[in-house]
């Protein structure tokens, strides 16, 4: 127990440490594709350090919750991350149904940020909040369809209920073993989770984090009124959220390799970041109307995997 526990803690520490680097990697990839040199890889760390040292400017329209929300969101995402298997090690907190807790903890964070955005009374932030609420509500069934494929797969493989309903098994390497042994339809799942990553982390083609017009944004426009340490908490929380979704993809792709498996995990997570960079360089943001089509496509894909794997 002890070695597994410590290696989990080490992986968690690594996640907490390396998560802001993902943004650096994405930016560097985009810059290289565009033929620029780009920002320093560690820019997010510099930003975080700078923001933590600053004071805050707050709108008088807001209330107490506005100041709590970023902390609540960060803690909720952190707790969700602690439920994931990291680097091939099962989470010490794993229990039957932890995927639901993780998803709803992310929901708690989202709820906090939406409410904080509405608290400013700005129509722009209301706009961002309404879009965030709508798209994540539509993304919810996709996530759970994909999860239900995995749980039924592992119940069929003869796992106990306790274990088959836990993220630590679903994303702990055994799923990768299943597609390696010939269930190739499962390879659609990492794609589904990658699309969900784009939606939930407000990346192109759903949202453009670098756009300059508030009218077209989703996530960035929600946090217009945050500043200083609170903005730093939000920035760090979005880095952790990106790490969370990237590890979902990694958990499906990397088979159980034993002690050194975590290197491959980290590599896959950074490859996902590169993939995001490539997607962002090759596509423009979709019109908001088309985002639902995009989500519909992801949903159809998840349903397809479910049908394929149940028909076997």
């Amino acid at each position: 127990m002890n070695t597994a526990f410590f290696s989990y803690l080490a992986n968690l520490a690594l996640a907490l440490l390396l998560a802001p680097l993902l943004f650096g990697v994405i930016n560097r990839v985009k810059a290289k594709v565009a033929g620029r040199h780009g920002k320093p890889l560690l820019q997010t760390y510099y930003d975080l350090a700078k923001l933590f040292r600053k004071s805050e400017v707050i709108s008088p329209t807001t209330g107490l919750f506005f100041q709590l929300a970023p902390a609540l969101q960060l803690v909720a995402i952190l707790a969700a991350l602690c439920l994931l298997p990291l680097g091939g090690n099962a989470s010490p907190l794993a229990f039957a149904g932890d995927f639901l807790l993780a998803a709803y903890l992310l929901g708690l964070g989202r709820f906090a940020m939406i409410v904080a955005a509405l608290e400013t009374g700005s129509s722009f932030e209301g706009m961002g909040a309404s879009r965030e609420a709508a798209f994540s509500a539509l993304a919810e069934p996709i996530f759970f369809l994909a999860i239900s494929v995995l749980t039924s797969l592992h119940l069929d493989l003869g796992e106990t209920h306790d274990w088959a309903f836990s993220l630590s098994l679903l994303f702990g390497g055994q799923s990768a073993g299943a597609w390696l042994s010939g269930k190739f339809e499962l390879l659609l799942l990492p794609i589904v989770f990658f699309l969900l990553l784009l939606v939930e982390n407000s990346r192109i083609p759903v949202d453009d984090p670098t756009t300059h017009l508030e009218l077209t944004m989703i996530h960035e426009v929600m946090i217009l009124d945050h500043s200083g340490p609170n903005l730093a908490l939000i920035l760090y929380a979005s880095a952790l959220k990106l790490w969370f979704f990237a590890s979902l993809v990694a958990g499906l792709l990397v088979p159980d390799l034993g002690a050194m498996g975590f290197l491959l995990w980290i590599a896959v997570i950074f490859l996902v970041a590169c993939a995001i960079g490539l997607v962002e360089s090759s596509m423009a943001r979709l019109r908001l109307k088309r985002v639902t089509t995009f989500l519909g496509g992801a949903c159809a894909m998840a349903a397809l995997v479910l049908i394929f794997s149940q028909m076997r």
Binding site: F52, S55, E56, I58, S59, P60, T61, G63, Q67, L68, L74, A76, A79, L93, F95, A96, G97, D98, L100, L101, A103, Y104, L105, G107, L108, R110, F111, I114, V115, L118, E119, G121, S122, S123, G126, M127, A129, S130, R131, A133, A134, S136, A137, L138, E140, P141, F144, L145, S148, L155, H161, D162, D225, G228, P229, N230, L233, K289, T292, Q310
Partner: protein, 670 residues
């Protein structure tokens, strides 16, 4: 049992006592007397009731019998696990709603409302509910069902000077009685088929047709009370019209009686405790349809109380899904699904009573403070009423199934029950259950949007109209029952393990599921899951508090500057360009508006510079408009046509009698 009988006696006696002030001349004193009598009666009765439920060392099945004094039927009561669980919201919520009602009715004018009558029917409702949930004789059950169904009519009709309120209470009365007709038919058939008046012993000697007919009749009768689609239309009418402490009690405790009826019927009619599989599927499908319809209609509403009413429909749907899933599990021998499904149904019922009671009471306070519950006219109330805002926010987070509150625990149990569908025998079954799992998650995703909207539009931002600006403030003394309910949401979330064990025990009494595979495993692992959830939730709360304290500490020296909200370059933002409830749901409505039934109409002056323009977003209930409206109009025209025979002339009536007698004579001769 003595405590329980005492509770019944207190409810009945204090209802009678409330007659006294209702007959007095309306004055300040009589209103005050009625208020105090009503409160004391509810207080004493509910406390006795709660003692009866939770007194340690009781037998699992306590019963009492006496003669009713009628030619048939006995006064037979019993308390088993299921009755006890359903009685908890009746006493608990009944008590808190009465206190809140007392606090808000103090300010009513005695000349406008007869408070004695109001409290009389409030106490009768509690009495009726208590009897319905404990009666073990079908005659007694029907009598108490009628008391329970009639009393709300008078409660809803409180503000009877408003024609919309009168309309709403009529809709309620019609719905309640159509349901009661089905129930009457059900009980007569039940009595005829079984030959017994007992509402306790499982029925064995039924043919397949009789069983099916009984099941369908019960589903119609009890379903109308529970608000299952398409019989839900009275809820969105009655809840906004009723005073808020009444809506809270109706939504948190009374509609559960419908669910109780369905559960009891299924458990009594199932041959050897195993319901036919298609019953389970039908109920699951009904629940799913109800839940989806409820949440989509709720999203389109701009009246907070109407929104909450549709959300009650949604939550009843979720509970019904749990029951359906449990029945499928029971009939196919899957103990995991049976236990988790039924426990989830009962857990969600208890949770729903806490947060929906809280939300309705809070909506009532908003109405009291501002004079409206229309979201487009509210906003910015959190600054003026922070305690109320915190309570409402807690209720919203709980009903949106967010940890650490109680809504999440029922959702988790139900989701795991549905997910185990993949271990059933055929692909169709697996797919159906997994897809309902995904639909359940979609519903709670939409619930998050819905309640972010409700809280945001009512309490946050800046005031959208004079209603929200000139607020009649109230200190926390006036709303402390809400704080109790808010704490209850958190406590039930953190102690969900015990709720699960209790509801699980009741579930195992209803259906023989202990011997099924997966039963004990479900009990241990769900117990463990809920314990871990509570631990993690506690850690999340602690860590957040720590982080907030840390931030406060670091910012202490640097200081915080206050500047107006960034309006993207515009110099002065006004509340006229604030997002409203309709604009908040617009991205979803773009996709779902055919399902939500939302109608948008724009009227604008022609020309390049229109001075006047108006945008209307409405979501009328299509069932009421296109199905029930025409149906009742047709019935009315048929009845009008029959007026040829009814014209009030006595000699013609005597002719009818003569004709009938002659006809009967001729029939007798032939």
């Amino acid at each position: 049992m003595p405590f329980f009988l005492a509770a019944l006696g207190i409810f009945a006696l204090s209802a009678l006592a409330c007659l006294v002030p209702s007959l007095l001349r309306p004055s300040k004193q009589s209103a005050h007397l009625a208020n105090v009598l009503g409160l004391l009666g509810t207080l004493a009765g509910s406390v006795c009731g709660l003692l009866a439920l939770f007194w340690p060392g009781q037998p699992p099945l306590a019963s009492f019998q006496a003669q009713l004094g009628l030619p048939f039927g006995t006064f037979s009561l019993a308390l088993d696990g299921t009755s006890r669980i359903f009685l908890v919201p009746v006493f608990g919520l009944g008590l808190l709603c009465a206190i809140q009602g007392f606090l808000s009715l103090r300010h009513e004018r005695p000349s406008q409302h007869n408070l004695g009558v109001h409290w009389l029917f409030y106490l009768l409702l509690l009495l009726g509910l208590t009897l319905v949930l404990s009666a073990r004789d079908i005659v007694l059950f029907l009598i108490s069902w009628e008391i329970m169904s009639l009393a709300p009519f008078f409660l809803i009709d409180f503000n009877d000077s408003d024609s919309r309120v009168r309309d709403a209470s009529w809709v309620y009365l019609v719905a309640a009685h159509l349901g009661a007709v089905a129930l009457l038919a059900f009980f007569v058939l039940f009595w005829q088929c079984t030959g017994s008046l007992s509402w306790q012993t499982p029925v064995t000697n039924l043919t397949e047709t009789q069983r099916t007919l009984l099941f369908v009749l019960a589903l119609a009768g009890f379903g109308a009370k529970a608000g299952l689609a398409p019989m839900h239309i009275w809820l969105p009418e009655a809840h906004p019209a009723a005073p808020s402490h009444v809506s809270a009690l109706l939504s948190g405790a009374m509609i559960n009686a419908g669910l109780y009826g369905i559960i009891r019927t299924v458990s009594l009619l199932s041959p050897k405790g195993i319901p036919p599989e298609w019953w389970g599927w039908l109920i699951l499908l009904l629940g799913l349809g109800t839940a989806l319809m409820g949440i989509l209609k709720a999203l389109a509403q701009s009246n907070v109380k109407r929104l909450l009413a549709y959300s009650s429909v949604e939550n009843m749907g979720i509970m019904t899904m749990g029951l359906g899933c449990a029945m499928i599990g029971q009939s196919l021998g899957n103990g995991w699904m049976a236990l988790a499904g039924l426990a989830a149904c009962l857990m969600h019922m208890l949770n729903h009573a806490t947060f929906k009671g809280l939300l309705f009471l809070a909506a009532g306070e908003v109405l009291h403070a501002t004079g409206t519950v229309n979201m487009a006219q509210l906003g910015g109330l959190a600054k003026k009423m922070p305690v109320l805002a915190a309570c409402f926010a807690t209720g919203c987070a709980a009903i949106a199934c967010l940890p650490p509150f109680n809504g999440f625990t029922g959702e988790l149990t139900l989701a795991l029950s549905l997910l185990d569908g993949s271990s059933l025998a055929s692909t169709e079954r697996q797919m159906a259950l997994l897809l309902s799992f995904a639909a359940l998650c979609a519903i709670s995703g939409l619930a998050l949007t819905l309640y972010a909207k409700a809280y945001g539009m009512v309490f946050l931002g800046s005031a959208r109209s004079g209603f929200a600006e000139n607020v009649h403030q109230k200190s926390w003394h006036g709303i402390w029952p809400l704080m109790v309910l808010a704490l209850g949401c958190l406590a039930l979330g953190l102690l969900a393990r015990f709720v699960f064990l209790g509801t699980g025990m009741a579930a195992a009494e209803l259906f023989p599921m202990q011997t099924l595979t997966g039963f004990s495993q479900a009990r241990t692992s769900l117990d463990q899951s809920l314990t871990t959830v509570a631990a993690i939730s506690g850690c999340v709360l602690l860590a957040t508090a720590l982080l907030v304290a840390l931030r406060k500490h670091t910012l202490h020296r640097r200081g915080i500057r206050f500047m107006p909200t960034w309006a993207c370059g515009y110099q002065r933002g006004t509340s006229r360009i604030e997002y409203t409830d309709a604009s908040f749901t617009e991205p979803l409505a773009r996709v779902l508006s055919p399902l939500m039934g939302q109608k948008v109409s724009i009227s604008q002056e022609p020309g390049l510079f229109p001075r006047y323009s108006q945008l209307l977003v409405k979501a009328p209930d299509r069932l009421r408009r296109y199905v029930y409206g025409p149906l009742f109009a047709a019935i009315e025209s048929v009845c009008n046509a029959l007026k040829i025979f009814q014209h009030g002339k006595i000699h013609l009536y005597i002719l009818y009698i003569l004709a009938t007698v002659v006809g009967l004579l001729i029939w007798g001769l032939v």
